[in-house]
Symmetry: C2
């Protein structure tokens, strides 16, 4: 091959380089057509092999990334579980302590979900929003603006576009 710098720079090469072989440098003789064909066949073969490798590598990487994320999120919950067990252990000695313990654990779990990107949504008094609320009942409430969330039956988690689930709510009906 009378154009060795092409092979050496193969990984950094871009499509813009494709015509470079035709620009005869002062110090290098112009390649013969046959040499140019061999050089291009070589580059094309390498690019196709690299495509094949890249596809295989990404399947492996995807599996690894998912497993790592699964472990990360599962591990984030272990302190919640540990504290549940501590609360149970303490309850034998002091039955009254468990209620306060469980409240703290609930708060810890809610905080954990927010840290993972899924903040709790349990606001009342806000206008009904179909993107974050699921209506389970419409109630008569003379003192409340129609279409306002009166009660959160089950809190939602997550933000618009990244929702784990919507908040299940009751809303005030329209006034007659």
């Amino acid at each position: 091959m009378n154009n060795p710098e092409h092979a050496a720079a193969d990984h950094a090469a871009t499509a813009a380089d494709v015509g470079a072989g035709a620009d005869a440098r002062p110090e290098a003789p112009a390649p013969t057509p046959q040499a140019r064909i061999e050089d291009l066949e070589d580059r094309w073969r390498r690019a196709m092999a690299e495509l094949d490798n890249l596809r295989k590598r990404h399947v492996v990487e995807l599996g690894r990334a998912k497993a790592a994320e699964r472990a990360r999120v599962a591990a984030a919950w272990l302190p919640v579980l540990d504290n549940l067990e501590l609360a149970l252990a303490h309850a034998d000695a002091d039955p009254g302590s468990i209620l306060q313990g469980v409240r703290s654990i609930r708060d810890q779990a809610v905080q954990m979900l927010a840290t993972l990107g899924f903040p709790r949504d349990d606001e009342t008094g806000v206008p009904f929003d179909p993107s974050r609320h699921e209506v389970v009942a419409v109630v008569d409430d003379e003192e409340t603006e129609p279409n306002t969330v009166v009660r959160v039956v089950r809190p939602g988690y997550g933000e618009s576009g990244h929702e784990l689930r919507p908040a299940a709510v009751t809303v005030a009906g329209s006034r007659e």
Copy 2:
């Protein structure tokens, strides 16, 4: 281009095809060297562009797969959190109910982790295994075989190679 079947079959092409242009088919005239160079330049340019696209696409896919896995695992814990809140709500009416409720929730959380691929490890009486146990104390226990797990201080989760954390244990010391 006097070799149009190459362009059409571009996506299915493999490196083994690279010499096919030289096998003159009865119905097609052999390409001139210049046509062969143009064809190869075109193929190489496409392969490089495809490589570039593939890299970009995989970065996006990786991010999406991680976000989906994060949401899936976080959502798996919502029933645990919901039940904690139910237990708290019932506790106001029946303070004695919370202990049994919290025990069930603990079991639910342990079951959830197992389903995600991280079974609980809290066995005693098994030989110490550095791949799953972390020794927090060595105790004298005349009735137990040396190097046996006597007590699990904090359970481990996960299996060999997919561990969230090892079990923290006390083991029986060697006999004098």
